[in-house]
């Protein structure tokens, strides 16, 4: 790991998903993993761009790959599920479709950028699981969880259609890492169902309904919190909870964490540096669980 990883934050991690960035950087620091932010990166284009102009969409995200190439590093860590997928898909389709490759190459050439050689586009979950490993996480745990079982929620674009982050049908790496950190999880059958993404902002009522389903099932399975690996999932489940409760008239309130927050906390990170103050729903429990920590021996 000496040479470290490039880091592609994506727009959300500078805004609504700020806590994801904060906790990710903290966690990686605790594990002595170097993250170097890609200089002058641009928006990946997300799903909207693809809906307007395919060529431009690929060219846009290809610029990031080109910048990465110039930086000389051969792997880039992408925490946002949407960015992760777009970058991977760009690399894949450029390989697979000559017409796309030609368009992108031309577009990059026109601004004096190289067409990047394939590089390793990686999600932090998979980096932690493969490069650090459940065992090392377990050995570094210094705090004891008091927050009750959680439901691990993977959403869609991190686990589909590319399967490097985890198994497609029943992913379990978040559970494994969190179990190692002493945080129990419940079997959660909706872990790879979609939260609707930007629908909450566009066809609001539908977006909210999708999140209602996710929260209801989490409560039904006895989860006290939801853990995510995507800024949009976290935003939807967190920001619209009160609405969901109204809609279903059930009390479905629970904190919605980033897995990096819980791991960072278990490894002794400063709650403030993990973005503990950025929760909207049930912020109280979140704060409580992430601070009231008894130190424990370095094994669980």
């Amino acid at each position: 790991m000496s040479e470290g990883y490039l880091y592609f934050p994506g727009c959300s991690l500078k805004g609504t998903g700020r806590a994801y960035e904060e906790s990710l950087l903290t966690l990686f620091r605790l594990l002595d993993l170097k993250l170097e932010e890609l200089d002058d990166w641009n928006c990946c284009g997300a799903t909207s761009y693809m809906s307007i102009d395919e060529g431009a969409a690929f060219a846009l995200s290809a610029r990031n790959l080109a910048l990465a190439q110039k930086s000389g590093k051969n792997q880039i860590v992408v925490p946002c599920a949407a960015c992760y997928l777009v970058l991977k898909k760009t690399q894949d389709y450029v390989e697979r479709y000559p017409e796309i490759r030609d368009h992108v190459t031309a577009s990059l050439r026109s601004v004096k950028l190289p067409m990047a050689e394939p590089l390793a586009i990686r999600h932090p979950l998979e980096v932690l699981y493969n490069d650090i490993g459940v065992g090392r996480i377990r050995s570094k745990v210094v705090r004891k969880w008091a927050g009750g079982p959680i439901a691990c929620y993977y959403g869609c674009q991190a686990v589909r259609p590319y399967y490097e982050v985890d198994k497609p049908v029943d992913p379990t790496r978040m559970e494994e890492l969190l179990e190692a950190a002493g945080i129990p999880s419940v079997p959660y059958s909706l872990k790879t169902k979609c939260c609707g993404g930007s629908l909450t902002g566009t066809i609001h009522e539908v977006g909210v309904r999708l999140n209602a389903i996710l929260l209801k099932e989490a409560v039904r399975k006895g989860a006290k919190a939801i853990v995510t690996l995507c800024p949009l999932c976290q935003f939807n489940l967190d920001a619209y909870q009160s609405e969901v409760c109204k809609l279903t008239n059930q009390d479905l309130r629970m904190p919605v964490f980033f897995f990096t927050q819980l791991l960072g906390w278990a490894l002794g990170g400063d709650p403030r540096e993990l973005g503990v103050h950025r929760f909207i729903s049930d912020a109280a429990s979140a704060k409580q669980w992430l601070s009231e920590a008894k130190e424990v021996a370095a094994h669980v």
């Binding site: 609504t16 002058d40 909207s48 395919e54 259609p161 566009t202």
Partner: protein, 191 residues
Amino acid sequence: MEIQRKLKHQWEAHPEWAHQVAALPGCEKLFSCLQCGTCSGTCPLSIYMDYTPRRIINLVREGFREEALSSQTIWLCASCYSCAVRCPQKIQITDVMYSLKREAIKSRLFPKRFAIPALSREFYSMVSRTGRSSEMWLVLRMAMRSNPLILLTMVGTGLNLLRTGRMALRREKIRRLNELPRENSKAMEVQ
């Protein structure tokens, strides 16, 4: 309640269009669809669509262009790829949906006052100009273009975001804007 005529004449179909779609990246296997409905069954949004994904595939395959392009379905698709990875014929349905969205916007066939095309276009123009998307500005402009009432539903959320410091008020911009791909005027003239 209004009564609709459902008869379709073959001259209303555009078989050649089906083949154009099938020629696009990701849409190659369009014609191998068995109409099994796995896509609709696994889709979290199919329950809100006017046509289920399976029916969209068949509309395209049979060349019913207007029906497919003006459907709400393609805009409800959240690109979660469930259908794409589950289709027993490996049809990349998500890519099919994208190509339909693009054509719908180009040919102005999307549902009026429907927020999503507006969002996409705002997003597109903002990113092409600044290289970054700033959620708040995006939402504002999207709302203005489609249905300002949306904003009301968002006030609360907005305040919460402000309170927790999760809303970027400053508009992000990259340094080397010149490196961004040129805006595709054809796509944008729609505005």
